[in-house]
Each structure stands twice: as structure tokens, then as C-alpha cells.
Symmetry: C2
């Protein structure tokens, strides 16, 4: 069956903002065997929105109108859609009360236009927005469904996942049966990883293995096609085992949303171990990444950002003679940073980062040269040198350094 | 004129990855008055790619084939495209040498398949990739242009901006004349900001003002239509002045890529001032954000992450009695964190963050309650309380806290 996605936003038409919502939705629809061959973008303009809806009504059974649900006067989507469909607007009084309460709690005066965000298509139902103010709408009439969704990507995504997909599933049932599992890896070039995985899984059929490189990890997805349960899960287990027999050293977890930081915080918590950090080129990103995991306070009390050499000496007591002799970008400095920060906080692990984020070289070392240190209570300090590609840029070098630091901790926790 | 965008990737078809490239490209094309009404997605499959190209040749003058240029065996885009067009593959020997050199420098063994990434459509030209290994292709024949681009979003974006757009501009000239300027704001609800801006700019014509909410700021874009220079710039200046006459307290910079961290580092450098941080709920994110700006070492030596109460006492010397009496989420604790960290580093500014990132409440305060402290040499310490909306979630609360901390510094630097 055919769906049509109408994206609303002057900033989209002018190319000032990337429309990430339409493809997200199209791909979610694909999992239900719903195709969206028609995707149009219109400005925040009542006439254009109305015309797009009327065209869509001629060729699609399922119509999405996305964006333009904000509280400002240029947000005309909900009223234009209601007009095009010839239905009145309804107000969700409970949601309206919640919006007013939210503003009150934040001690901000609320513009009266905000009532727009509690409105939905009369005769339909309101769709809850788990992370924003504007409601969505679901209007099912004469075999055609019209859905209205907000534009901000975080709201759009949460709403599609939590409010829309269950409803679509109930309405349109299942398409092709695909069962997937995602394994996460770090520390192997994608081409090599996938060559080895192809070799390791060539005896299996009814499945494919695809890879997707993310800034922090390589995600490997196993897709099993058209197999009933429990055969599908059994095949997933077999393929997983075949892959991990070869790639276990680089594996750190299963799942689309799995992050190494989360796995490390969970493992530390389980083993009742604590951690600290001393960061130079990463400037606090390692510790901040740990703290992005709810419950990090169980394993992390605090740590140091020592960007300049003098901060390394002053805050954690790295010997000036070590820095003078070996430089800040050195195994020796990384080792002292890790061990002395660990001692200061009396933590079980101390992790350090010192290196060259770029764009310029430092101490004759090119951007991408990074030393990591891992101190562990009652264990000798380990260090590790990374040679990251300078062309990936300053932020990617800092991000990857953090991930490799997490990997050192993860591997120590496996022992 | 018509363009067609063919996105290649099994992970896209299965809905496992959001296709951000196609809309990015469509919107870039819009600025040249090129429409892309046909956008299709196919799997990493030679036959599907070939068929999609042949269909596109019937209806589009400009064809994009995006993704599938990686080094693994499932990356078949470049060979499939060459086959569909009936042209041979060419190898860029200089680029191939550079790929080999890059692997050597990183001390990683290079799979031989990587030569794929130095290949382009014979009879066309190679498009440089500023941030990745795979080349693109530009093939212009019999009035039809075929462009091949890599899939990873960072590479795609850099290549579109740096290699593709200048070439498209030269080939297809200018479309509708739109001149834009982006002003960045923080600290005003979007609806209120835009209401006031609408009022302040209602006397102008030939222009629109649109807003776009980003996690760290509200971007307000002034678009001027079909005016020759210098009249277009003059109108942009007039509209900017009218907006800033009302909204200056919330403004921090001009430009699409402008970030508050960058502005603050630039201002500190210019005024030869230094800064440090003491972070609880933000866990290092403030300092890491400063360090994301090249040249941050001129103004930032280091600082503290004090996630637990005991780290606040131990690392920066916050009085235990203050914490006992007022709690960690308090103006008094924020003030001591800012001043004592500033003193320890002998910095001109000390910025502190203490509050509730959530999901759970802390000391009876709901998630989103944050105290910021700003200590400045020879000035009384300032503190500020934020009431962020709990529903935006843990990461957004941490990110926004950092931005508001930067804003306090920015405002102090204006005085």
C-alpha cells in the first residue's frame, strides 16, 4: 500500500535545514511493508499545505503531514490540515492544562498562542508527544488515514516510535518478516571486520549481515528473513556465535542503542568498582560520556581536566621532569596521569588521555597521535598509543579517543 | 530542471539507518533552483542499482548515486554505475598512493579491496573527499550528468559542500536569488522571540524571517528575495538592526555555524582572559565544549569534574558545612565551586554547574533544576538558577546547562 509524506517547513524548502524526519518515517514504514513513493516538501503556507493534502488524497491511503506545530504564527499546519479535510479542531484540555503547568513550573510567561499545541483533528485522536509540547493527530476516515506530527527531530522520532508505530502496526498488520540483531564492535577497520565476518558466516542462508559505521562504533546487523519463531532466533544465535568466535576481542555489546559507556558503567556497577579520569586532549569528554549514563554516580565521583602541562603538574602531580624528558604526548605522561588521578580519588580505575587533537601538530607528533593510560588498583599501569587518521578532524579524534579509553576499561573488566 | 537522487544501502531500505543525505542534497539543489522530485532507495545490489540508473536516465538531467563506496565486498556502487553507463573504471593513482600512505601512518594493514576507493567513472572526473577515503565521480555526457558520492554522512556533507556545489554552480548557474543571514539567540522561548521579531520587522518587505530551534540555540534566518546587491545586504543590515534593537540581550553571534563556545573562546582570547570550570551534573561537558574550539589552550588550562559531594570538598575545597546546610543543588554550593576552582587555577573566570540532570529528583528538586555559578577576578560571584523542562531529558538538560553557563561568561565579557 502507498503512503505519502508531506514535510512542512520554509527552512526545508530553502535548503537551510536537513529533513531527517521524512527518511526516518519512510524507513519505519518499510518495516511494515508500507511504501512511501511520494514525498513532498512545502513551505509554512496554508494554501500549499492544503493543496499538497488534496493531491495526496488522490493517490495514497496513508498521509503524513509533518512539521509546523510550533506555537508561532508561522506554524499553520494543524489549522490548514483541518481546513483541507473539512473537520473542526479539537482541544485536549488535559494536555492544555499540562502545558500551562509546565510554563508555570519553569517560571516563564506563556504566550496564549501555545494553546495551538494542545489541538488535534476533530473526529480523530490526539497522539502523545513524549518529549515536547505539541500533540500529534491520527484521523481515520473512509479508509484513509491522515497523521499530523511535529517537526523537531527529537520529538518526531520519539512520537513515531512511541505513539505512531504501535498504532500503524495495529491498523496495517505485518509486512515481510524480518528479524534483526545488532552487534557492536570497536577497534577493527570495517573492511577487515566484514571480510572476516563474511568468511565466518558463509554457511548460513536466509540471512544477510550488513555493517554501519558510527562515529563511536561499527554496528553489524544480522537480518533473518521470513523464518517463523523460534527458528529465526535460533539462526540469529548461531550467526552471532560464529561471528564472536572470530571477533570477540572487538565486541562490546548487543543492540541498536548499545553504547560502550553504558556497558562500562553497568559492568563497573556490577563489579562494585569505581573510576576516575585525567583528560588532556579530550578536555572532559570521557568523564562527561560516563555521566551521560543514568546511574554513573555509583561508579564515578569526579576527576580532572588537565589541558595545559602546568595543570597536569598542579592538579594531579605529574612530575615536571617526566614532561620535560618525554613530552606531554608520551606513554610516561599518560601513565602518571592515570595512576596519580586514580590515587587522588582512591578509585579502582584511572583513565588518562593525552595527545594531539589537531589541526596543528604538537611536539612534532601529527594530529591523531594519542596516548591512553589505564591504572588499576594493584595492577601495573597500561598505556596504549593510537594513530588516528588526521583527516577525520578534531572532534572525531577526541570522540574516538574516548571510545578507545572506554574499551581499555571494558577489556580490563572482562579479565 | 529535474534531478534524481538514488540512495544505495541495504540498511536504508530496511529502515535501520536514517537517510540524511538525500534531503541534504535535495535542499542544496533547491538553492540552485534544481528540483529533485524523484528520490529512490535501493539495496547494495548491482542489478537494482543498474535498473534505478536506467529509469533515472529517462526522466532526469542530473542523476545522483549516493552510498556504497566503502571497501567491503557489499559495496558495489561504483562498478554497477560504470556498467549501467557503459564506461570503464579509472583509478586515481595519486589518491591510491595517499590511501596506502594513510594506512601505513596508522600502522594498520590495508586490505587490497581498498583500491576500490580510488576508482571513479572513466571519461569523467574524480571528486575529492575532504574527510574520507572514497573518491566521488562526476560524469558529464550528452547533456546528462551522473554524480557518484559516498554514503557516510560526514563525508557526504563535506563533499557536497566542497567538491560538488561549486561544480553544480558552474554547470547550472543561479536559480532564484536568495540572500540569507542567520542570527543566533539563547535564553528566550521561541514563540516569544518570534512574536517580538515579527513586530519589529513588519515594516520591511521582500524578506521573510524564519526560526529554527537547535539543541544549543535558536537560529533566526533573515531571507531576502530577488534584490540585487548592494540593496540585498543593505536590507539584511536594516532588518538585523531592527531585531537587535529588541533582542540584543539574547543574541550571541551571526552565521549558520556560529556556536556560543566559539564566540566565548574568541572573546576571552581577545581580552587575554582565562577560564576554568567545576562541573557536577554536566560531568566535564562544559570544559569539553570549550576544548572543541581550536585555540582553546590560549584561555583554558584545566579544571574539575566534581560529580559526588565528596569530590566537591576534596578537589576544590567546597566547605562541607555549606553542602550540609544548603545541599549540593544550591546557589551557595554553585558560588563556592566557581570561586574556589577559579582561585585554584588562578583563572580570570570560574564557571560551575550543579543540579539535577534526571531522570530522578535530587534533594527534593525536580530534574531540570540547575544552579550556575560565575566567579570573576575582583568581582562578586554571580549565581543563576535554571528551571529546565524535565521532559526534554537528561542529555538536553546537561547540554542546555552548558550553553547557559557559556552565556553568563559571554555577558560578563560584554560588560
Amino acid at each position: 500500500m502507498n503512503a505519502e509524506i508531506i514535510s512542512v517547513g520554509t527552512e526545508l524548502v530553502l535548503g537551510q535545514v536537513t529533513n531527517t524526519n521524512a527518511p526516518l518515517l519512510a524507513q519505519k514504514l518499510a518495516t511494515l511493508d508500507i511504501e512511501a513513493p511520494y514525498q513532498v516538501t512545502v513551505m509554512d503556507d496554508a494554501q500549499q499545505i492544503g493543496a499538497a493534502i488534496k493531491t495526496a488524497q488522490q493517490r495514497a491511503e496513508l498521509i503524513f503531514v509533518c512539521g509546523g506545530l510550533g506555537p508561532t504564527t508561522d506554524d499553520v499546519t494543524i489549522t490548514s490540515t483541518a481546513t483541507a479535510l473539512g473537520v473542526p479542531l479539537a482541544t485536549d484540555e488535559q494536555h492544555w492544562a499540562w502545558i500551562k503547568e509546565t510554563f508555570k513550573q519553569r517560571q516563564i510567561e506563556m504566550p496564549t498562542e501555545n494553546i495551538q499545541q494542545a489541538r488535534y483533528l476533530g473526529g480523530g485522536v490526539a497522539l502523545a508527544n513524549p518529549v515536547g509540547l505539541a500533540l500529534g493527530s491520527w484521523y481515520d476516515h473512509a479508509g484513509q488515514v491522515v497523521v499530523v506530527l511535529p517537526g523537531p527531530p527529537a520529538e518526531f522520532k520519539a512520537m513515531v516510535n512511541q505513539s505512531l508505530m504501535p498504532r500503524l502496526q495495529a491498523r496495517y498488520g505485518q509486512g515481510r518478516q524480518i528479524v534483526s540483531r545488532t552487534l557492536n564492535f570497536l577497534g577493527r577497520p570495517e573492511s577487515q571486520l566484514m571480510d572476516e565476518i563474511e568468511e565466518a558466516t558463509k554457511q548460513f542462508s536466509s540471512m544477510t549481515v550488513t555493517s554501519y559505521v558510527q562515529p563511536s562504533q561499527i554496528q553489524v546487523r544480522i537480518n533473518v528473513y521470513d523464518l517463523p519463531q523460534p527458528a529465526a532466533t535460533k539462526l540469529l544465535d548461531q550467526v552471532t556465535a560464529a561471528i564472536l568466535a572470530v571477533e570477540r576481542p572487538f565486541y562490546f555489546g548487543t543492540g541498536d542503542q548499545c553504547s560502550l559507556a553504558q556497558v562500562v558503567v553497568e559492568q563497573l556497577t556490577k563489579q562494585q568498582q569505581t573510576i576516575t579520569g585525567a583528560e588532556s586532549l579530550t578536555g572532559g569528554l570521557f568523564q562527561s560520556t560516563l555521566c551521560s549514563v543514568p546511574g554513573a554516580s555509583n561508579v564515578f565521583a569526579g576527576g580532572f581536566v588537565t589541558y595545559a602541562a602546568r595543570a597536569k603538574e598542579q592538579l594531579i602531580g605529574v612530575d615536571q621532569s617526566i614532561i620535560d624528558q618525554y613530552g606531554v604526548v608520551s606513554s610516561q605522561t599518560a601513565a602518571q596521569m592515570a595512576e596519580k588521578s586514580r590515587e587522588k580519588l582512591d578509585a579502582d580505575f584511572g583513565v588518562s588521555f593525552t595527545g594531539v587533537a589537531g589541526p596543528d601538530a604538537l611536539e612534532g607528533q601529527p594530529a591523531g597521535t594519542v596516548w591512553l593510560g589505564l591504572a588499576q588498583r594493584n595492577q601495573p599501569v597500561q598505556t596504549k598509543e593510537l594513530h588516528l587518521a588526521a583527516y577525520i578532524g578534531r572532534q572525531a579524534i577526541r570522540n574516538l579517543s574516548v571510545q578507545y579509553g572506554l574499551q581499555m576499561v571494558y577489556q580490563a573488566l572482562q579479565r
